[in-house]
Symmetry: C2
Subunit: 84 residues, 2 copies
Amino acid sequence: APKFVTSSRAAVSMHFPPINESVDKGNPKVVTTVKCEDIKGKGVYCRCWRSKTFPNCDASHVKWNEERGDNVGPLIVMAAKPAE
Amino acid sequence: APKFVTSSRAAVSMHFPPINESVDKGNPKVVTTVKCEDIKGKGVYCRCWRSKTFPNCDASHVKWNEERGDNVGPLIVMAAKPAE
């Protein structure tokens, strides 16, 4: 019988899916840099890679956690309080 | 023949693994808050959920990306430059 041959990459991704399914997949490593002085009040940053406003959180983790029984959530960065 | 019954949660986690396998799994949602005034120079924060120094990045994403054909990387937060 013909052997069912999958490329190792396909086999890997089929059985062990990546964390990031769709963000900037042409980029070998998605690193985001933000500056504290650009943050107004606070910045909420996605760590579930499902946000439609990535790198910012849009609460997509809520649906993900429900569907997958996961417990991921965002990173919140509080801007420094302006000197009084 | 006996029906092979798995709990839906087990079935979900077997076929669709969570992003977070081991960080603070007793917590329903792992949200991390950091303050800009506490960041010295820059903070590098994990988004692959494999870091042994979570929430900080320890480059675990390199191994993950190689094994999974993924492209996740950290969030870098640059502290505000001190006023000169």
